[in-house]
C-alpha cells in the first residue's frame, strides 16, 4: 500500500489543502453521479425480479444461519476443499495471512503475481508485503489496475477508481507504456486488455479473494464482470485464495440466492458476467489450470463478533457496496476520507470492530444514522443500530472509572472530541457534521430533537458550522493550486505516507 488517498493528504499547508479540495470537487461529482446511477439501476433490477423483500429476508436468513453455525460449515468447507486437493492455511490476523501468502510465493520462487480484486487482500496489505520481498504484484481488475498505477487505494468497494477522470487514466496508461492513447474508453480498455494479457500469461501465481465458499463441495466461487478472476485462476501454475472466514455458504442452492442478490445490489445487474466455481486444483486428467490451489482463511477480528448479539450479523455482509451508494455521508466525501480499507456505512461499522483500539474508534461518527444503509442492504444488516451501539460503547469506554451513568450528551460529544483531535479525519468530520445538521440548522443554530445531536443540543444551542467555506475561496484556491503545481509538479500529488 503506497498511499491512502485524499483523506490523508497534507492538510497543514494551503497547497496541500487546495490540492485535496480541488480533487474533491471532481470526486464529489463523480461519486454522486456513480452512486445515483448504481442506485437507479438497482431499483430497476430489483423491481424486475419482484418480491425483493422476500429475497432479502431469505438472504438474511441464509447468512445468519451460516454465521451462527460457522464452526460446522467452515469445517465442512475445509474438509471438502482438502478432499478436492486444495491446501488450506489458517491465519489469526493480517500478519499471519500475509506471512502464509509470502511463504507460498517464496517456495515457488515467484517473481510475478497477478491479482483479481479482493477487499480482503487490501485488509492484509499483501501487495506491499510482497513488493518488499521483490515480488511484482499486478492488479488486473481494470479499476484496481488504474489506482495501482496511481499509487492509490480503492475509494469504492465495487468501483475502485470512481474518483479518476479519463484524462488522468490516459496519463497513467501512457506512463505505463501506452502510445498515442486518446481518452476514448475503447482505446484505454484495449490498452489495458493487451497489457494485462501479458501479465496473466507470464504470472507465476494468481491471487484472488473468495466471494463464497461452498461447504457441501469445498468450492471457491468468484464473481467478476471482466473475467479477470478467471484468467488469474486459470493461467498461472499456482492459485492462492485469500478468504474471510465468514465467507461460507452451506449449499449451491443457497448460492442461487446470493447470485440473485449480489449483482443486483452491487451494480443493478441482473446477473454477474462470470461466476466461476473452483473446486480444487486441476485434476490428473486435465492439461490446464493451476497444479496447486492454496486457500488462506483469515480471522482478523471476525471471530470476536461471533456470539455478540449486537454485532454478529455484521458477518452476514456480502460486500456488495449498496450501503455506500445510499449513504449521504459517503456520497458527499467519497471513500478515501474514511481512511480505512472498507469505506461507507459497512466500513464505519466493520473497521472499528475488526481493528479494535482507538485509531478507528471515531468512524461510527461518520454517519447521519438515517438508516438508508439498512434499507439498501440485501442481507438486512442493521448497520444504523450497530453504529449507535458502537458510539455507545466508545462513550462507555471514556466514562470515568466509577462513574456509572453514561449520559446522552457524552455519547453525542465523544465522537466529536476524538475526531477533532485528529487532523487526518478533520475534513470528514466537519462534512459529516454539516450534512447531519443540514435539515436541523435554523438561523445558524442547531436545534435538534432527534438524531445524533439530541443529547448535545437537548440542553443547549450549538453554533452551526460555517456553510461550505470552501466554495467562497474556490477561485483563489484554484490559483494557489496552479502556482503550487508549477512549483512542485507531481510531488504534491503523492502521499506523505
Amino acid at each position: 500500500m503506497t498511499g491512502v488517498g485524499a483523506g490523508a493528504k497534507d492538510t497543514t499547508t494551503i497547497s496541500g489543502r487546495s490540492h485535496a479540495a480541488l480533487a474533491d470537487d471532481f470526486l464529489r461529482a463523480a461519486v454522486r453521479f456513480t452512486t445515483d446511477r448504481l442506485k437507479d439501476r438497482k431499483r430497476g433490477a430489483t423491481e424486475e425480479l419482484g418480491r425483493w423483500e422476500e429475497w432479502r429476508e431469505r438472504g438474511r436468513a441464509i447468512r445468519s444461519h451460516t454465521v451462527a453455525n460457522l464452526d460446522h460449515y467452515l469445517r465442512q468447507f475445509v474438509a471438502n476443499a482438502r478432499a478436492a486437493g486444495a491446501a488450506v492455511h489458517f491465519a489469526a490476523d493480517a500478519q499471519e495471512a500475509s506471512a502464509a501468502v509470502l511463504g507460498i510465493v517464496q517456495e515457488k520462487q515467484a517473481t510475478l503475481v497477478a491479482k483479481s480484486k479482493s477487499m480482503v487482500s487490501e485488509e492484509i496489505h499483501i501487495n506491499s508485503r510482497l513488493e518488499e520481498h521483490g515480488v511484482r504484484v499486478v492488479e488486473t481488475d481494470l479499476g484496481e489496475y488504474i489506482i495501482q498505477l496511481a499509487h492509490e487505494t480503492p475509494s469504492h468497494i465495487i468501483i475502485p477508481a470512481i474518483h479518476k477522470t479519463r484524462e488522468q487514466i490516459k496519463d497513467l496508461f501512457t506512463h505505463d507504456g501506452g502510445q498515442d492513447l486518446g481518452t476514448d474508453t475503447k482505446a484505454l480498455v484495449a490498452f489495458a486488455r493487451s497489457k494485462l494479457r501479458e501479465t496473466f500469461l507470464a504470472a507465476d501465481i494468481g491471487m484472488t479473494g473468495c466471494n463464497f465458499g461452498i461447504a457441501e463441495s469445498g468450492s471457491v466461487v468468484l464473481f467478476t464482470n471482466e473475467g479477470n478472476a478467471d484468467m488469474v485462476s486459470a493461467l498461472p501454475k499456482t492459485h492462492i485464495v485469500v478468504m474471510g472466514m465468514e465467507r461460507v455458504l452451506p449449499t449451491f442452492a443457497d448460492l442461487e440466492v446470493m447470485a440473485n442478490l449480489l449483482p443486483r445490489s452491487a451494480t443493478g445487474q441482473k446477473v454477474i458476467t462470470y461466476m466461476s466455481v473452483i473446486t480444487g486444483p486441476r485434476r490428473a486428467r486435465e492439461v490446464s489450470g493451476p497444479t496447486e490451489l492454496h486457500i488462506v482463511i483469515l480471522d482478523n477480528g471476525r471471530s470476536s463478533q461471533l456470539g455478540d448479539a449486537e454485532f454478529q450479523d455484521v458477518l452476514n455482509c456480502i460486500r456488495c457496496g449498496a450501503c455506500l451508494n445510499v449513504c449521504p455521508v459517503y456520497r458527499h466525501v467519497g471513500g478515501h476520507a474514511y481512511g480505512s480499507v472498507y469505506p461507507g456505512p459497512i466500513g464505519a461499522v466493520l473497521t472499528p470492530l475488526l481493528l479494535q483500539g482507538e485509531e478507528f474508534a471515531d468512524l461510527p461518527n461518520a454517519s447521519s444514522l438515517c438508516g438508508a444503509c439498512y434499507e439498501a442492504c440485501p442481507v438486512k444488516i442493521p448497520l444504523h443500530d450497530m453504529l449507535v451501539a458502537l458510539r455507545r460503547r466508545a462513550a462507555q469506554r471514556k466514562a470515568k472509572p466509577g462513574g456509572v451513568r453514561v449520559d446522552r450528551e457524552r455519547v453525542a460529544w465523544s465522537g466529536y472530541a476524538t475526531l477533532f483531535a485528529k487532523p487526518g479525519r478533520y475534513r470528514l468530520v466537519t462534512r459529516v457534521a454539516r450534512i447531519v445538521q443540514a435539515p436541523l440548522a435554523r438561523d445558524g443554530y442547531i436545534e435538534s430533537t432527534f438524531g445524533p445531536l439530541v443529547g448535545w443540543t437537548g440542553s443547549r444551542h450549538a453554533p452551526a458550522l460555517a456553510p461550505e467555506p470552501f466554495r467562497d475561496r474556490f477561485s483563489r484556491m484554484k490559483q494557489d493550486v496552479k502556482v503550487a503545481r508549477q512549483n512542485d509538479g507531481k510531488a504534491a500529488e503523492s502521499d506523505p505516507r
Binding site: D71, V78, I146, T273
Partner: protein, 242 residues
C-alpha cells in the same frame, strides 16, 4: 495459526465445544458428523416452483442474452446450424479458431465445419495450450443454459478446456435447446445428482452471461475487457415443440 485452535475459538465464541481431537490427524479436520437443522435451503418456494415450458425457456434465454450484449440464433435443424456457424466464421474471417474437442465435435457433428476452418480442437494433450492463448475465436458447447439470465454453464471436463471460452476475442457457443433450464437452482440440482465429490464435480464450473464488461472508466460501459468481447449462441432446437 493452529487449525484446532482456530476452530476451537470459533466454536467457543458461539457457545459450543469443538471436538477435542477433530483436527488431530495430520490431514486436519474431517467432515462434521451431523448437519445443523435448517428451516429451508436455497431460494424461496415461489422461485423454485416456477415451471417454464420449452418455448418460454428458449425465448427467454434468447432475449436475455441479447440484453447482455450477446446474440442468439435458433435453428430448426443441425444442418441449418452448421450453415449458420460457417457464415459466422466466414464473417469473422479469424486467422486462428479453436474449439472444444472430444465428444462435443461428434455430438454436434462439427467435424466438417472444423476441418474447413482449420479449427484447433482441445484434445487434452500436454503442452497443447499454446495456440489457445493466440486464438481469435473459440467455439464451445455448454452443459446447461439458463433462461432466466441468458447464461451458459460450462463444465471443465475432458475435451472441454476452460481456456477455449476465456481467451479468444469472440466466443461462439453451440448448444441444444433441450439443455436450457429455467433457473440456476435447477442446474445445481442436476449437477448435484451426478455428485459433488471431486470425482464427479469438475475443477471448474463456469457461468457465463454475455460478453466481458467493465464500467471502471468514468462509468462508461465497455465490453471485452479481459474475457471475450462478443458471445454468440447458436441453438439447435432439438425439441421443436410449439
Amino acid at each position: 495459526m493452529n487449525e484446532q485452535a482456530f476452530f476451537q475459538n470459533i466454536a467457543r465464541r458461539l457457545g459450543r465445544e469443538f471436538p477435542a481431537d477433530a483436527a488431530a490427524s495430520p490431514a486436519g479436520v474431517g467432515l462434521p458428523a451431523e448437519e445443523p437443522e435448517r428451516a429451508f435451503v436455497g431460494a424461496p418456494d415461489f422461485w423454485t416452483a416456477r415451471q417454464w415450458g420449452h418455448r418460454e425457456r428458449l425465448e427467454n434465454f434468447t432475449l436475455e442474452l441479447g440484453r447482455l450484449g450477446g446474440s442468439a440464433r435458433v435453428y430448426a435443424t443441425l444442418a441449418a446450424l452448421h450453415g449458420g456457424l460457417e457464415t459466422l466464421l466466414q464473417e469473422l474471417s479469424a486467422p486462428l479458431v479453436c474449439g472444444w474437442g472430444g465428444e462435443f465435435i461428434a455430438d454436434m457433428q462439427l467435424q466438417n465445419v472444423f476441418d474447413s476452418f482449420a479449427v484447433v480442437p482441445w484434445d487434452d494433450e500436454p503442452d497443447m495450450a499454446e495456440p489457445f492463448t493466440r486464438a481469435d475465436v473459440g467455439v464451445t458447447g455448454c452443459d446447461f443454459a439458463i433462461a432466466d439470465t441468458g447464461t451458459v454453464v460450462l463444465l471443465n471436463e475432458s475435451g472441454q478446456g476452460r481456456l477455449v471460452s476465456l481467451l479468444p476475442t469472440v466466443h461462439i457457443v453451440v448448444l441444444r435447446a433441450s439443455r436450457i433450464r429455467t433457473s440456476m437452482g435447477e442446474v445445481w440440482r442436476e449437477i448435484a445428482l451426478r455428485g459433488l465429490d471431486p470425482v464427479h464435480l469438475p475443477s471448474t464450473v463456469i457461468f457465463i452471461s454475455g460478453p466481458s464488461r467493465s464500467s471502471d472508466i468514468e462509468n462508461d460501459l465497455t465490453i471485452g475487457v479481459h474475457g471475450p468481447a462478443a458471445v454468440h449462441a447458436l441453438i439447435w432446437d432439438d425439441v421443436g415443440l410449439p
